[in-house]
């Protein structure tokens, strides 16, 4: 995973890779709490992510809830078909702002 925060700290881009499992989701959650502070626009790039577990979905949901609470925006983009299917199966495409180019 790779974080890219803008200079004024309001725009954060997170690039995920490989798999978001229970283990990696735990690490991501820890980092995300710190990084999201003060962020107005949060983008998650999933072009290199092949799998999201339920634990990973939970972290994404928490991020979405946090952004809703702080009146920020969150976009999930470039999800590969396998990950998109997981979003559809779990109904997360209705909760997260999933944009596919």
């Amino acid at each position: 995973m790779l974080f890219d925060k803008s200079e004024n700290g309001e725009v954060l881009t997170l690039t995920l890779d490989k798999k978001l499992t229970a283990v990696t989701a735990g690490e991501l959650e820890k980092d995300l709490i710190e990084k999201l502070a003060g962020v107005k626009s949060f983008t998650v790039d999933m072009s290199r992510l092949v799998y999201v577990s339920s634990a990973g979905l939970r972290v994404l949901l928490n991020a979405q809830k946090y952004m809703n609470k702080t009146n920020g925006s969150m976009i999930v983009k470039n999800a590969v078909p396998e990950v998109m299917k997981i979003f559809e199966t779990t109904g997360f495409n209705e909760i997260l702002n999933v944009k596919n180019s």
């Binding site: 577990s53 339920s54 634990a55 979905l57 939970r58 949901l61 109904g91 997360f92 909760i95």
Partner: protein, 544 residues
């Protein structure tokens, strides 16, 4: 302690060796310089003798043929007399005058010579000629005749023998020149016995060796004492302490620090050993405590696993008095306690509720959330309503105070036994698979809602389906579809349908057991990283 393993002896042996080597080197240098100095004294003495001898020599004496034999004889007799006196007083063994000529100066003609008092050999008669073969002499002649050197020395070191009665001796040669022309007419040579050389040199050697030996013993003794006091004794103490600690694993009665107080490496070593010992003891103590706690947690987790397992209906067949359907379900947690669950219960004698769910995450938090979810769903279902209504209420209840932000995907179905009519709601869960009688398994896609407990106020949607006799419905969690092998490949729904279709005639129990085996075969030795939960229900053929 074995000698060769003794640390002190090794150190001492090294010092003795170095000191002995040093003494030998110093002795050799001293011996050489001392010899040079003695030889130099002999050389000077011989040189002075030669210069004095030269005073009596005149050109007429050293020519051949002699012009005036009578005068020559008179001069020769005088030279003989004076030289003999000189040889006697100056301790010269030979004084002679000669010329060298011919190729390489190897032809020698003696003009006059005398032997010293202690020189037993004969002297050559005047005018005697020999051939000199000794390169040292030829070399010396060349230096005088060609290089114009005024003083040439030849040192000979040997033990006296009957053939050569002179022992160590030195020969000093000076040229005799014509006063007018400067031409070298002859060479005057003085041979001097170095009779005292050996005695003096041996004496020197004996003194040096004796002094060195005494000094060596003294230094070794002092150094040994010093080593023992400052190095050996403390190190032995430290080694002993380390050995004691290795066997006893207990605190020392007296710490090393209080006995070894130096600031050097030995002191540091003592301090380090003390620190290490107390660290190890603390560590062992901590480890023991943590291990004990871990054992306790493990025991509690075992109980938790048991409690969780007991919460799921595990008695099959669960309703022996009902023959309208066959049902079987299984749950294999990835960790001790899992987040998956299944449930089935009668709402009323004609309505059977079927639940399969997966809480996000694993382990104890997921298990606790699972217990709440399962209880709420069952309680709410028994109050009546459609699956969508039930999930709506359960969702709102779970969202209250869901600080951990866990959520749960649920497939909830209510089967009307008498008609086979199934109403279901899917909250973010995997699609069920259905096999119609005589047909094959297929995925049944229906409208989806987000998982339960994600957000308050979610509206869930009902889907309807009619099951007939012989139809088999298979629901499962993502632990099945997303099982992964060691090559990181997903099991996937396609493979799942394929494996389901290998069991077209199986009853639910057989089907689930076979499917678990298929998943295990696929994952091989890769660790199971999600709970695997399945539920199968088949409408009996005689049910109409």
């Amino acid at each position: 302690m074995k000698l060769k393993n003794n640390f002190a002896l090794k150190l001492l042996a090294g010092v003795v060796f170095v000191m002995a080597a040093l003494s030998v080197i110093v002795s050799i240098i001293g011996y050489y310089l001392f010899t040079r100095s003695i030889v130099h004294q002999y050389s000077n003495s011989a040189w002075n003798t030669a210069r004095t001898a030269a005073i009596y020599v005149v050109p007429g004496l050293v020519v051949n043929p002699r012009y005036d034999v009578r005068e020559w004889q008179a001069r020769s007799n005088m030279v003989h007399r004076e030289w003999q006196r000189l040889a006697n007083t100056q301790n010269a063994s030979l004084i002679y005058v000669f010329r060298a000529y011919g190729e390489n100066y190897q032809d020698i003609e003696f003009f006059t010579n005398v032997a010293g008092p202690n020189f037993p050999s004969e002297v050559f008669p005047d005018g005697y000629k020999i051939q000199q073969k000794d390169q040292r002499y030829l070399h010396a002649f060349k230096k005088i005749y060609e290089e114009g050197q005024e003083r040439v020395e030849i040192e000979v070191y040997r033990a006296p023998s009957p053939e050569f009665p002179s022992g160590n001796h030195i020969t000093v040669m000076i040229p005799f020149k014509d006063n007018m022309t400067g031409e070298i007419l002859a060479i005057i040579a003085v041979e001097r016995e170095m009779e005292e050389l050996d005695n003096v040199r041996h004496g020197y050697l004996r003194h040096v060796l004796a002094t060195t030996a005494i000094l060596l013993v003294f230094v070794i003794f002092l150094y040994g004492l010093y080593l023992k006091r400052n190095l050996i004794a403390p190190i032995r103490k430290i080694a002993g302490e380390a050995l004691r600690f290795a066997y006893e694993n207990k605190k020392p009665d007296i710490p090393l620090q209080s006995e070894i107080k130096t600031q050097d490496e030995v002191g540091q070593l003592a301090l380090t050993i003390d620190t290490m010992e107390s660290d190890i003891l603390n560590y062992v103590e901590n480890l023991t405590r943590v291990t004990k706690e871990k054992e306790q947690i493990k025991a509690e987790l075992n109980v938790a696993t048991q409690i969780q397992a007991d919460m799921l209906p595990r008695k099959f067949p669960p309703f022996p008095e009902r023959n309208e359907f066959e049902i079987y379900a299984s749950m294999n947690p990835a960790k001790e306690v899992g987040g998956d669950f299944y449930d089935f219960f009668f709402i009323d004698p004609d309505h059977l509720a079927l639940v399969i769910a997966d809480v996000s995450g694993k382990g104890v938090p997921a298990a606790l959330f699972m217990v709440i979810s399962k209880t709420l769903i069952k309680n709410r279902a028994q109050m009546g309503g459609t699956p969508a209504e039930i999930l709506h209420d359960v969702n709102n209840q779970l969202c209250e105070g869901n600080e951990a932000d866990l959520f749960v995907t649920v497939w909830l179905g209510i089967l009307e036994i008498s008609t086979g009519h199934l109403i279901s709601a899917n909250a973010g869960h995997e699609y069920p698979a259905l096999k119609r009688v005589g047909g094959k398994f297929e995925i049944v896609k229906a409208k989806h809602s987000p998982a339960v407990a994600t957000m308050e106020g979610i509206k869930f949607k009902n889907a309807e389906l009619d099951l007939g006799p012989g139809d088999l419905l298979y629901v499962y969690t993502d632990g099945v579809a997303e099982a992964t092998n060691s090559q990181e490949e997903l099991y996937g729904t396609d493979r799942m349908i394929e494996d389901l279709n290998k069991n077209l005639d199986a009853d639910p129990e057989e089907l689930l057991i076979n499917m678990k085996r298929e998943v295990d075969n696929f994952t091989g030795d890769a660790p199971q990283f999600d709970d695997i939960t399945m539920l199968g229900i088949k409408i009996s053929l005689h049910n109409s």
